[in-house]
């Protein structure tokens, strides 16, 4: 109904037909992910960084730490801010300018996974209660879009956070005095996003670009380290049945465990 015009009807039909036989155009199984490659610590200026390649999809995340004010309702907690840029060099479809709704959704889904799993011990980022806390900026930078930006970005964000260091400091008369050395950002959970596309009433994990262009709808389920669900986002113009959603949560739990081993070393 709402498939993109940019994939020929013949190809759309072929993709849907293959999927109904449990096969995919790139020869993956329906629940298989593309190869995941992760590098960390690649940007020296950033407090933490990571580049994730998910097949041909490529996302870089840099983290910056600044001193700022806490929110009024949680005066003893640091602040997490996630933004995403769909950089024009990543796809002929991306344009310069302020983040559009796709970039905002991407940032907010990544944010929800980190926030709701309580991955960062924000209470450890308080300097002076009610006055000064650390603000963790997570900036998602999409470098090449070949589909499933959400999962790639969520993995890159987690890898970058695990790679993030805060300078040592002492508080003197309410002011921060920087000391030599660095401390690891306290990360206590490892949320993993698992995204499915619904095509021809079948679920396929880790949809690549062509599949995204023919899918009816999209479902992202984020799983924390205990196997609990911490965030969900449905996207796209189609719908899901209850059965499909429950099926997706089961597969997501397995996949999250596999992917977590790749992102979180030791």
């Amino acid at each position: 109904m709402t498939s993109s015009m940019s994939v020929a009807k013949v190809k759309q039909k072929r993709i849907a037909e293959l999927i109904s036989h449990g096969k995919r155009l790139d020869e993956r199984g329906l629940n298989d992910y593309r190869e995941v490659q992760i590098e960390v610590g690649i940007i020296e200026r950033a407090e933490g960084s990571a580049r994730v390649r998910l097949g041909k999809t490529e996302v870089m995340v840099g983290t910056k730490i600044e001193v700022g004010e806490p929110f009024l309702d949680v005066p003893n907690e640091g602040v997490l801010t996630v933004s995403a840029e769909l950089v024009p060099l990543a796809s002929p479809k991306f344009e310069p300018g302020p983040p559009n709704e796709n970039a905002i959704e991407l940032a907010r889904v990544v944010d929800r996974g980190i926030r709701e799993s309580k991955a960062i011990s924000l209470e450890k980022l308080c300097v002076t209660p009610g006055k000064k806390v650390f603000v963790v900026f997570v900036d998602v930078y999409v470098l090449n879009d070949d589909g499933n930006l959400i999962d790639a970005s969520a993995m890159a964000a987690l890898a970058a956070l695990l790679n993030t260091k805060i300078f040592n400091y002492e508080v003197k008369n309410g002011e921060i005095e920087i000391k030599p050395g660095y401390t690891q950002l306290p990360i206590v959970d490892y949320p993993i996003a698992v995204t499915f596309a619904k095509i021809n009433d079948k679920l396929v994990a880790d949809p690549w670009l062509v599949e995204e262009q023919v899918m009816d709808a999209r479902l992202t389920i984020t799983i924390d380290k205990d196997g609990k669900i911490c965030a969900i986002q449905k996207g796209g113009y189609g719908y899901f049945s209850m059965e499909k959603i429950l099926e997706a949560t089961k597969i997501a739990q397995q996949k999250a465990e596999e992917l977590r081993k790749i992102v979180v070393k030791d």
């Binding site: 905002i104 709701e116 609990k228 669900i229 969900i232 796209g236 049945s241 209850m242 949560t249 739990q253």
Partner: protein, 247 residues
């Protein structure tokens, strides 16, 4: 000014702060066809939520290059009035509002026969006049009625409701306080006659068993809301009929 959150939101008998049972909706008041200029409009009060929706279209689309050759373009703006919340909200669209506009549009889109109106646009405007938790769901309920009121052919009404977990208990239709203090919130939109879930979001912390229960609770809330939605739609036409007969 900061509001104090009461210590306990659910008492030992399973009654909530506003006197509701765990699986009970807030009182709903729905009216259809209330704005003179709009092609379709509706108003909802769900507890303290007060939300207006208006639909304009199908109409010519500007700029023209956005037009789709095979169907109408559905546009949706979810917006909160500056006075709708405790601390004044800047009228500029926030990231949250942009995301909600997108997911609400995607929740309504499967219900509309957009292919009947190629090259046109159908604009939905949702204005939250007062917010008390669950505004995206109430916004979907009222926007779907506004679409129906505009006479746009639809596969089904879209009805939405949230469920979640507060103080370890699974509850239906969370208020703002319950949402903030609770540990999970799951808004869901549903086309009851097609058994199709068109919006699903969740944040919090749920095991798969709890998730399944919350999902069922939300669908049950949708079904209850659907009955009231249909009543409100009928009430408008009864009123029109009476007015015509009097003349």
């Amino acid at each position: 000014m900061s509001r104090k959150t009461p210590k306990k939101l659910i008492n030992e008998n399973g009654t909530r702060l506003d006197g509701r049972e765990l699986n009970q909706l807030r009182p709903l008041k729905i009216e259809v066809g209330i704005l003179a200029n709009a092609d379709g409009s509706a108003y909802i009060e769900q507890g303290k939520n007060k939300i207006l929706a208006a639909v304009y279209g199908p109409k010519e689309l500007h700029p023209k290059h956005l037009a789709l050759p095979d169907r109408a373009l559905l546009l949706c703006r979810y917006h909160m009035a500056p006075f709708s919340v405790q601390e004044r909200k800047s009228p500029a669209p926030s990231r949250r509002e942009i995301e909600l506009s997108k997911v609400i549009r995607e929740a309504l889109e499967p219900s509309v026969f957009l292919e009947h109106y190629p090259r046109t646009s159908i604009d939905i405007f949702i204005e939250v006049l007062q917010a008390d938790g669950g505004t995206r769901c109430a916004g979907i309920n009222v926007a779907s009625l506004a679409l129906a009121d505009a006479g746009i052919p639809m596969r089904d009404l879209v009805v939405a409701c949230a469920a979640g977990k507060v103080e370890g208990r699974l509850v239906l239709d969370l208020t703002d306080v319950e949402d903030k203090a609770g540990t999970a919130d799951l808004p869901l939109a549903f086309m009851p006659n097609l058994n199709a879930i068109t919006l699903l979001q969740m944040d919090g912390d749920l095991t798969t068993d709890e998730f399944e229960q919350v999902l069922n609770l939300a669908i049950d809330g949708c079904k209850q809301t659907h009955a009231l939605q249909k009543e409100a739609l009928k009430a408008k036409y009864v009123a029109v009929k009476e007015a015509v007969e009097e003349e």
